[in-house]
């Protein structure tokens, strides 16, 4: 499972197991059909975001984009329903980057302490951190909410970010990585009289860059896609994140939802994580495989 980036083209020439002709085309047809099925909901949302409300409320809706793209997206971005989508996108960006950067910083440091030092109480700290792997935030929502409320951190970026940093996945990844770093490097640094933090900055940190990038991709998506936690602590619409804010755009009563604007917001909400996944595909797959191991 380690080498996911291996390209089929690098393999030896096809043996007798591979099929040609009709069967090959059938396989391509199956794959294209699969891709189309997976894409269909997104296509439909995109079409809905480019037509007028009357075209949607009289089913069936069109299957080809209309000419309202700019009208709908402008309305969504700058006025929205309760709050402009642009505001919610900004909140999501702050939250996602805050979670990714925060988690990476505290884990880089704590993994360094665990791997390269002997100090009293180390095993206790290690197991305390390990335990946090077991419990997702969904399970401890009520008491965590009370903690945040007690600190007066409702409707704040700190309240959105900190509780989601408290997990040890990243610490364990860096610990595993540090263990593979040759002992000679630390030995040499020590002989040269380098202080520990100097060793960390000049040697360990540059060596960890790929791991940091891979982890950043995964954590960014994790943070961006959070739903329950922002739903609880952002009662002020100005602090809503985009992923939770879309549900708030539906009318509460029996009114008809403003589908073109809601669908434009949905498309906008998908774009940042999708761009991250596609543009950093190799890092993404690496991060995914690493963090689930």
């Amino acid at each position: 499972m380690s080498d996911t980036t291996k390209k089929p083209s690098k393999e030896p020439p096809p043996g007798m197991v591979e099929k040609r002709g009709a069967s090959l085309w059938l396989n391509h047809a199956i794959m294209i059909f699969g891709v189309l099925i997976v894409f269909f909901p997104i296509w439909l949302a995109f079409v809905a975001s480019t037509v007028t409300q009357p075209e949607i409320v009289r089913p069936p809706m069109p299957l080809w984009p209309g000419d309202q793209f700019f009208t709908n997206y402008k309305k969504a971005l700058f006025s929205g329903v309760n709050v402009p989508v642009a505001t919610m996108l900004f909140n999501s960006l702050v939250m996602a980057i805050g979670i990714a950067v925060g988690k990476i910083i505290i884990s880089l440091l704590s993994a360094f302490a665990i791997v390269y030092f002997r100090f009293p109480g180390k095993m206790i700290f290690f197991w305390l951190i390990f335990l946090t792997l077991m419990l997702p935030v969904e399970v401890r929502i009520v008491p965590t909410y009370e903690v945040i409320a007690g600190f007066g951190m409702l409707n704040s970026y700190g309240g959105l970010i900190f509780p989601l940093i408290a997990s040890a996945t990243a610490t364990f990844l860096f610990r595993q990585f540090y263990m593979t770093v040759p002992d000679e490097l630390a030995e040499a640094a020590r002989v040269d009289g380098a202080r520990p933090m100097r060793f960390f900055w000049d040697i360990l940190f540059p060596m960890s860059r790929t791991n940091i990038a891979a982890l950043f991709v995964i954590l960014f998506i994790y943070g961006w896609n959070q739903y329950l936690w922002p739903l609880l602590i952002t009662t002020d619409p100005e602090m809503n994140t985009i992923v939770m804010g879309i549900k708030q755009m539906f009318p509460s009563g029996d009114d008809v939802a403003d589908w073109p604007v809601i669908m434009a917001a949905s498309i906008l909400a998908m774009i940042p994580p999708v761009i991250v996944v596609i543009s950093m595909q190799k890092l993404f797959i690496r991060g995914l495989v690493d963090s689930e191991k």
Binding site: I42, I105, I114, L128, I165, A166, A186, M197
Partner: protein, 293 residues
Amino acid sequence: MEKRVTFKGWILPLCLIAPQVFISAVFFFYPAGQAIWQSLFIPDPFGLSMQYVGLGNFKFLLSDPFYRASFLTTAVFSTLVTLVSMIPALFLAVVADRLIKGAGVYRTLLIWPYAVAPAIAGVLWLFMFNTRVGIVSWYLGNLGYDWNHVLNGGEAMGLVVVASAWGRISYNFLFFFAALQAVPKSVVEAAAIDGAHFWRRFFTIILPLLSPTTFFLLVVNIVYAFFETFGVIHTITSGGPQQSTTILVYKVFSDGFVGQDLGSSAAQSVILLVVVGALTVFQFKFVERRVHY
């Protein structure tokens, strides 16, 4: 655990590990402890004081027909989500693996629904099956099938299952595809020379070799269905109709935040904690050691 070469001193490592320990303590251990503590109390009707009831909350929950129903709902839901997301993914991965050219392109095309948040996936599927404007429900109506997931519990369950499984197909495809690429071609070709046709090779050689990946994905998908699907349920059904899609995590939320029944919600958190713990132990015991044939 640690390097043979370590740095001296214990103040620096304590400072390095402090941020993570602090955040874990405040946002993880304290709330988790609170959940356990609160689960032993019930608030009086005026919310002024708490009365100690020992394991009363747990006894009540385990005899509560709604809670038992929620357990059953969760079991059905997570089984279906796991199957609906794993079987198509395995099928597509097997087909993609047989292609020499283009497999990488299909992988790129299939990857990115993973980046779509469960809550957004919920909105997309809700749009397609909306009783008033949904295109799929409209066509179903033309075929003489009256789709109404707002009233029909079975249809509601079907919809949240499909919406939850949709993005996971990408994830499972990625892991299955990587595992298939790692199956030694020589073994498969030897079987082909012996005259085993494709499906026979698949069931006798490839599937057993995939078992570590399959077990790993089973656990990961069950954990996903338990916790991360909250957004799907909240956007599509809000647990209804008649609690037919109220999974355990949703019930913690609705009892704790909507119903303000803190003792019961805390007890439910503790039960979920035990479930997650059991799943984690299961994963370490059976998945980490890898199933070898």
